[in-house]
Amino acid sequence: MNPEPGSTASYSLRRRLTFAMMTGFLLILSILAVALWNYAVAAANRSFDLLLEGSAITILGRVSSNANGITVDFPPAALEMLGLAEDDRVFYRIFTAEGETLTGEADLPGPEVDITNDETQYFDARYSGTLVRFVRQRKIVAIDDQTLPVLVQVGQTRIARDVHRNALFLRGMMVLGVLAVAGIFFARMSINLALKPLSGIVTDIESRDPSDLRELKASPPREIASLIAAINGFMRRLDASKDNAQNFIADVAHQIRTSLSALNGQLELASEPGKPEELQRRIGSAGLQAKKTIALTNQLLAHAMVIHRADNQSKSAVDLVDLVTTAIENHVKQRASTGIEFEFVRKDALNNPVILGDAVSLQEALRNLISNVEAHAGDRPCLRFTIERSGTGNRVFLIVEDDGPGIPHGQRANALDRFSSFGNSLGSGLGLAIVKAVMDAHDGTVTLGDGANGGLRVELSFPC
């Protein structure tokens, strides 16, 4: 009943969820990775920038003035301090705001000196063949009566801070990775857990006999309760439809058997010796019986066709006026000497009412209604089609009225059922059932009533 789970299924819920989770994790992971990277860069910079700044401060501390001008007692410890980053090279320059180098590397790169800025400046610049992180600090030194800004710029290659940054990043990523793997693992576990009740249902369905259409016994979790309810509802309908089908087959078999045995009987009778007039009469009634059998078969096929189309045919716009016109034309074509007087009334003078439907089925329904009149009503029956819109405008009525004998009140309730034919011997008992089936397929209704002229009034109501 059910294929191997996962083998021919169009997709796996588990794989989907896992994929969704992984995508989510990956997304979060990449966002976090970016954040982590920025953090690592900032953290590495912060710690090593402090070192650089400490170095600069130490150097600035030794910048002073005496009678000869600015003096620098360069503190080697300032560079020693930077030696904490073992493999990094260091550079420094002490210079005036005018750009005069007091000591150190005169060619250190850096932005224009801004005298007003006494903030510590950090920047990266290429020097000596590599990227160097620089700090620049300023100090005001007083000489005689004036003051002079002195700047110190200390630089350090980025090896240690890059190592530090990478270590921070990798450590963070490792934690995130472990979290992600654990997350996915738990997600899979919970998916399995969540899907467990489904497998119980699968087992239940798989172990069933094809004819077993009882409700599923599973006590489903809330999330899939509606699914189970839907399955159970479907099973009930399937059960009902199966019963219907069985009844229908039984009905059909009975009808055809009856009809054929009658035909057989007539033919046997016809083959017995008798007077020529008697034989003629017998053959005549055998012919009539054959006609009835053909009519019955036709109607059975029509009914089957209507049911089949209801399931399979896509609907298109159908103009009701055209529908009625064609029905009349078809009838006249088929029964050139028909005695029916047709009449058409439109209560709605505006546009032709158009419904969404299957023209073939609808035509079949009208054909049956017209045939009924032909069969049941009198010599020159009058058949009136009326098209009318409901007051609210959301329904369209196609009313078919005749002036025949109609259907007695007591029998109307069953008139729409199969093989409920009464009276005339040529009726198959399927005509109204076919109409009913067509209307069901169009979400419409059939209502039987009394016609204005005492006949039968069939009201077809369509949504629009």
């Binding site: 620098v72 007692d73 360069f74 301090m81 030696g83």
Partner: protein, 351 residues
Amino acid sequence: MLSVDRFPTVVFIAALFSAIATGLPAKAGSGQLNIYSATDTSAMQQVLDAFQAKYPEVRLVYTEYNTRELHEALLGGTISDADIVISSSVDLQVDLVNRGMANSIDVKMDPAIPRWAQWRSELFGFTFEPVVTVYNKKAFETFEFPATRSALALAIRDNPEFFENATGTYDIALSGVGYLFAAQDMEKGYQFWRLVESFGRAGAETFCCTSHVLDKVAKGELLVGYNVIGSYAAERMRLDPRLAIAAFTDYTLVMSRSAFVHRSAPNPDTAELFIEYLLSREGQRKITQSSALISILEAVEGKSERMTIFGNLEAMRPIKFSPGLIGYLDRLKRAQLLADWQDALGSNGME
């Protein structure tokens, strides 16, 4: 300049051909290797010979310089074909490396080589040389040689006649190593300046090189030589019983000769091979056993015997290879230090 080429010309031509054939640079273990060194050739000769024996296809060209001259020549671009740069002035070496002049090399390094004697996988120390004081053994027969710098300063103050014109040390303006030792001394504390002032009062003499100091002390022309390279002193003492060595107990500096591969070395693979050999057990053993120099490795055969002469191993303070050394090379700092030194030593200190 002195070119050491002990190789037969035939082989040299063969090596040249092979270099042409294979294209430049030569493959490891062949071609010409230019070594620029601020270390006595005599001290290096044995280890160079050993390397040559191991790699006969290499043509070694060894050029000797003074430490400061070498530094300036390299900075100024006078030398353009250096493969290997060796110097005993580690501060100058660190400066060159800091300027990006060295190649980072991936050598199979003995883990016993101490961290302080290397920097950035570029600069490698390959000797262990305490900085000591030598004295004339005979002159100090009567009283014990002072164990610390303070004690020596006190002794000079208390016995001015005895020490008058009898002390000598590096001319730190002239000698790169001398300047390095002085800078390191200064960093260690105030005793140094007291000592220098004592030297000044006693009319100390200054020299360019350790050997000159050793000569004078041995002859008795000087009684005390301060801050001389221990390895040379020990070697000399072994041959000359008039000399004695004192390693101060307050601290004894230890220097290491260092080498690096020049960034634009014409023959980098062979240069790397040379460094590797220098640091290998084999190279280190050669250094310890056949030259005045002492191995950087603790466990090399013969080192401990060589070290006994210094006694007092606890007070050894190696000069760490680090950018801090550059601080003393600062133009103003150096000028200041030299000025202070002159002040303290007095004009009579200058020859």
